[in-house]
């Protein structure tokens, strides 16, 4: 049977598709602008106003050459991968355990522990006390400062808790009847049922770690070898902003237009990997936060 499509449905579809296309366009334009600018003639780029729809002048890879020949970029990539993988694996593992624990109805410390966790979400000691704690732990200029303090996130724990709570008690009861212990119940029975939640949390952690530069700028001031990619790129962007000042302060110096180009190339280099991974995990996002255990 062919469903008849009424005029209101047609209008809705047009508006719906129109809005989505428009929305997608708005999201894509800045990325397109940066990509096109990154391969443009730097001198023409300097004298261009507005969005760059196509490369200006002859296409050049000079900006990418400058960015990629910087050895710090590769060191930053290596560090970022370490931090992303560590935090995604260990962080999400600990989040699953914490979420499972505070979702158990028969766990007597459930409420105090949850209040303790939520307290940290709402109240922060501030930068200076945090710094003093980190310093007292001997983590200043130490790689572990990027790998330990941020491992657990109160929001992700509550997300995980909600995921476990939506599962029917019958899963746990039947597993217990079959002789399963808590570890088996958690990892082999319940965790696979909240796989979507876990993937979303892994993705959140990975994206957050990929973009993180602030903790490193505070806690790793004298340990550039441990800096993540984003901090190097941020420095590169600032350098190339201030290059204009340097250019100015040296009155005789000729203008260096490539510094303008480098900004765009650095953004592309920093964004491309995470953009490539995103589509493969996107499908989990739709169901990730709301998925329950019992269907039908």
């Amino acid at each position: 049977m062919i469903e008849k499509v009424g005029p209101s449905r047609v209008i809705f579809n047009i508006l719906n598709y129109g809005f989505m296309i428009f929305f997608s366009f708005i999201c894509i334009v800045p990325i397109w602008h940066v990509v096109m600018a990154s391969v443009s003639d730097p001198r023409l780029l300097m004298s261009h106003a507005g969005i760059v729809w196509k490369p200006l002048g002859d296409i050049t890879a000079e900006g990418y050459r400058l960015v990629l020949q910087n050895k710090s970029i590769w060191m930053g990539y290596g560090n970022t991968l370490i931090y992303v993988i560590w935090n995604a694996v260990v962080g999400s593992l600990l989040t699953v355990i914490a979420g499972y624990l505070v979702s158990r109805k028969d766990f007597r410390l459930k409420n105090p522990l949850m209040i303790f966790i939520l307290f940290t979400m709402m109240f922060s000691g501030g930068l200076i006390p945090s710094y003093q704690v980190i310093r007292a732990l001997g983590l200043i200029n130490n790689r572990w400062v990027m790998m330990i303090p941020g491992l657990l996130n109160a929001f992700y724990i509550t997300m995980m808790k909600s995921g476990f709570e939506q599962l029917s008690d019958s899963y746990e009861e039947s597993a217990k009847l079959d002789g399963a212990g808590p570890m088996t119940i958690m990892f082999r029975i319940l965790a696979p049922l909240v796989k979507a939640n876990i993937v979303v949390i892994v993705m959140f952690i990975a994206v957050m770690q990929w973009n993180a530069w602030y903790p490193a700028s505070i806690y790793l001031p004298a340990a550039r070898d441990y800096w993540p990619l984003q901090l190097f790129l941020r420095e590169m962007l600032i350098q190339n902003d201030t290059a204009a000042v340097v250019m100015g302060s040296d009155a005789a110096a000729a203008a260096d237009f490539t510094s303008n180009l480098v900004k765009y190339c650095a953004v592309v280099v920093a964004t491309a990997p995470i953009l490539c991974i995103y589509p493969f995990i996107q499908k989990y996002f739709v169901t990730g936060v709301t998925l329950g255990g019992v269907k039908g």
């Binding site: 200076i128 003093q132 700028s217 505070i218 001031p221 009155a251 203008a255």
Partner: protein, 574 residues
């Protein structure tokens, strides 16, 4: 009840977080006793034992060094480490985080031995009062004899005056005291080629001068430029670009109307430019130019442009006539022959408003002055050991000798072991950064300004010690400046800086706060009203300007003027 209790606990936690991080204040610190009327009794804490190696931690902001990441590796630093049996260990935050990191260091009390303070948001007096830094004055005579002698030389009275406070304290070993004024790096520029094109090469200004000098000359230039751009059919162009706030705080254009963009001194009286009559005359002229279409119509919306790189789409695209430019843009540097753009950019002085004044105000906010400032340089933390302090003073003192100044400013010579330094060797500088034959200074080929390979790739500054304290010998560099830059610099420097408010006057922490608070009160009003006056959205008459000036004064200009005046009087009477 439980909920109330919980709320109370949470509220308490929030309140207590307000006090988080409040450190203990060690109170006043610093060694030595102050003698009445300034100066300090010399303190002797024993000789510097150079046999004993010292590690001295130094906080310094970061530059783009090109060839290395940390200043630890700077060739001049390595040379000094060997010479003084020490290790200067630099702690450098990521670029862009300097101010935050410095505040964090102050907040947590984990100071390095020595700190470069240009990123400190507090005055040195306030740091001293808080027990963060030492007063170095009592140590100078014994541990920095060259610096002490330099300060007490009659010709360096200005430097001494700038560094000592009224109580005889000296906190800062200056960052770089120039032997001579630098060339100025930027100022107003104009497209001379447009005038040449429009007049067939017979440019004749109403004043009869070879360059535009009066308001009438500018009228002529701007009208000619507008005709040119209109004829070219450009959709977007600007005969004159002014900053979004409507005036240059550094004084460009304004000095032609006899006022500055900030505080300045005239006949011993401190004045604030935006409330003076000359500022009204300036606004009237800008309004007229705006109505005629000479000033960029959307200037007020360009709030993200820095004043020295305004609207690059127009300036670099060949669609601007007059703007704030830089030395690197002069002559044909902005031409794009492959796209048919041939320009000739020349420096331009402020337009003299002959109707109201007879000479440009001798004021500039940009010049790289010779005088040192106590807000730029190295301070020694109160937590630094005396041994480390006097070792650092020995190092810094050397950089105030002729030999040290040459090392700091021009780098290593062959005799100083240039060949042994890996960076020098790799850059082809094994014979040293320069040679001296008698009085003749010659740069090594890779370092010749403008043409040397290391200057072109921008790494030349990595071979010298320009971030260290000490004297900056710029005598030989100035000789290498191009003719066009020297000429432009002379135009931009104008009639000197006799009317400048002395930049070395240091306010007390309390007065500094008052001035900053006043500024935040009146600057918003000022920066809102000036564009409105120029664009005609606010009526501009003698009466409305008088009301504006009164409002500015009531918002804090009057109080700041009194403070500026009292400090100026005290400074002049010292």
């Amino acid at each position: 009840m439980k909920k109330k209790l919980l709320s109370l606990v949470l509220a308490g936690a929030m309140a207590s977080s307000l006090f988080a991080g409040c450190g203990d204040n060690k109170g006043s610190a610093g060694g030595g006793t102050q003698s009445a009327g300034g100066g300090a009794e010399p303190v002797d804490v024993g000789a510097d034992n150079l046999e004993e190696s010292r590690e001295i931690t130094v906080w310094l902001y970061k530059d783009d060094y090109k060839i290395y990441d940390s200043y630890d590796e700077n060739p001049v630093v390595q040379y000094l480490n060997g010479k003084f049996n020490c290790t200067l260990k630099f702690q450098q935050p990521a670029m862009g985080s300097e101010k935050e990191q410095f505040s964090l260091m102050l907040g947590t009390g984990s100071y390095t031995d020595v700190m470069e303070i240009s990123n400190c948001q507090e005055g040195v007096a306030s740091l001293y009062e808080d027990g963060v830094i030492k007063d170095l004055a009592p140590y100078l005579e014994n541990y920095m004899p060259n610096f002490y002698a330099f300060l007490n030389a009659p010709e360096n009275g200005d430097v001494k005056k700038a560094l000592y406070d009224g109580d005889g304290h000296l906190f800062t070993i200056p960052f770089q005291v120039r032997l001579q004024d630098e060339n100025r790096w930027g100022g107003m520029v104009y497209r001379r080629d447009i005038l040449e094109t429009m007049t067939g090469g017979n440019v004749a200004f109403p004043s009869g001068n070879g360059e535009p000098t009066t308001v009438e000359d500018w009228d002529y230039v701007l009208e000619t430029m507008k005709t040119y751009f209109d004829a070219a059919g450009l959709a977007d162009y600007a005969c004159l670009i002014i900053p979004a706030q409507g005036y240059f705080e550094t004084g460009e254009l304004l000095t032609g109307f006899g006022v500055a963009g900030n505080f300045y001194v005239q006949d011993g009286t401190v004045k604030y430019g935006p409330v003076e009559q000359g500022f009204y005359n300036y606004l009237v002229k800008m309004k007229e130019w705006y109505e005629k279409g000479y000033i960029y119509q959307d200037f007020a919306s360009r709030t993200n442009d820095v004043f020295y790189l305004p609207n690059t789409a127009l300036t670099y695209g060949g669609s601007a006539g007059i703007w704030f430019g830089m030395g690197g843009q002069l002559d044909g540097a902005m031409s794009m022959p492959e796209y048919g753009l041939e320009v000739n950019v020349q420096a331009l002085a402020s337009p003299l408003d002959t109707a109201s004044t007879s000479a440009l105000l001798a004021q500039t906010g940009l010049e790289n002055e010779r005088v040192a400032m106590n807000t730029q340089g190295y301070v020694v933390a109160d937590t630094c050991s005396e041994e480390n302090m006097i070792r650092f003073m020995s190092v810094a003192d050397y950089l105030f000798t002729d030999e040290g100044a040459m090392l700091r400013s021009y780098g290593l010579t062959a005799e100083q072991g240039a060949a042994d330094n890996s960076y020098y060797a790799a850059a082809g500088l094994s014979g040293g950064a320069y040679t001296m034959e008698g009085e003749t200074f010659t740069y090594a080929e890779p370092l010749v300004p403008n043409v040397g390979a290391l200057c072109i790739d921008g790494s030349n500054m990595s071979y010298i010690g320009n971030r260290l304290p000490g004297l900056l010998n710029n005598e030989y560099d100035l000789a290498y400046a191009t003719e066009s830059v020297s000429r432009a610099s002379a135009v931009w420097k104008g009639t000197g800086r006799d009317n400048n408010y002395p930049s070395s006057i240091a306010f007390s922490a309390e007065d500094n706060d008052k001035i900053a608070s006043n500024y935040s009160n009146y600057s918003d009003y000022l920066n809102t009203m000036v564009p409105k006056f120029i664009m005609g959205t606010e009526a501009l008459t003698e009466e409305s300007f008088a009301a504006f000036a009164e409002q500015m004064k009531s918002l804090g200009v009057s109080e700041s003027l009194e403070l500026y005046q009292s400090y100026y009087d005290a400074f002049m009477s010292e």
